[in-house]
């Protein structure tokens, strides 16, 4: 039986907490694991499809997440992997890491700032892709986002900058008025 899940391998449980509502809304299983051994156990249990978020540390000696990413791409192709780092890097290094992880099989690579709407947007898109791949129906059931969260893909053109931000405060004038 194919079993849709959101799996998260991270050290502190932050990402899993951000995705709780999305998983509950769509009645998917959400599992947070702390070790590669546990993640492999879950995947080996059989029938797993869905989304997996892997936390990785660029330039770290700990290469396990990256090795697992490559292994998952080969052994469990039904699982879309998102590589997530909470380390801020210069733009060139981010681009290099993103390219390398794409080559290894990551669907998305996320760097800070990481926010709940960003995570929900990425994961809900991959959940929908999983449904379409399994059911094979373009007009199948959709993915519901939690009511309180707003998508990040809002129309930025409608946002009007505040006038106050552009105002120049004339300190000399304020002193005269005083």
């Amino acid at each position: 039986m194919r079993l849709p899940r959101i799996m998260v391998w991270e050290s502190d449980g932050w990402m899993a907490r951000q995705l709780r509502e999305l998983a509950a809304e769509n009645r998917w299983l959400l599992r947070s694991v702390r070790s590669a051994r546990r993640l492999r156990q879950v995947l080996n249990a059989g029938g797993v499809c869905g989304v997996c978020l892997l936390q990785f540390e660029p330039w770290s000696e700990r290469r396990e997440p990256i090795e697992l990413l490559a292994e998952m791409h080969l052994r469990w192709p039904d699982v879309a992997v998102v590589a997530v780092s909470d380390v801020k890097l210069p733009e060139a290094e981010r681009a290099a890491w993103t390219a390398a992880l794409f080559d290894l099989g990551a669907r998305y690579v996320l760097f800070p700032p990481l926010t709940k709407p960003v995570l929900e947007d990425v994961v809900s898109g991959l959940m929908l892709a999983t449904l379409r791949r399994v059911i094979g129906d373009e007009e199948g059931p959709g993915i519901t986002r939690p009511a309180r969260s707003e998508p990040v893909t809002e129309d930025r053109s409608t946002i009007v900058p505040s006038q106050k931000k552009n105002e120049v405060i004339d300190l000399a004038q304020e002193e005269d008025e005083a």
């Binding site: 899940r5 907490r17 998983a23 509950a24």
Partner: protein
């Protein structure tokens, strides 16, 4: 822990080699957590599964069995 995220202790697992895609399990499921797909039945809404095992009982090919997933699961932080 959020009660909406606690799955049943056991969930149905399919042996695809035995399944003849008759769809009886999908029809019998009281919570409609099972759905048909081009690859046979699948557990589309696992958190809605009550582990009633009606799908296991109705399967004419014994392709379904309840599997305890607790040995590989960890609770959410």
């Amino acid at each position: 822990m959020n009660p909406h995220l606690i799955p049943a202790a056991e969930l149905p697992m399919l042996d695809p080699k035995r399944c003849n895609t008759c769809g009886l399990c999908v029809v019998i499921c009281p919570t409609q957590c099972l759905q048909g797909s081009r690859l046979g039945p699948w557990l589309a809404r696992p958190l809605d599964c009550l582990a009633c095992a009606a799908c296991v009982v109705v399967c004419p090919k014994n392709a379904l069995q309840m599997v305890n997933l607790s040995d590989v699961e960890e609770p959410l932080p």
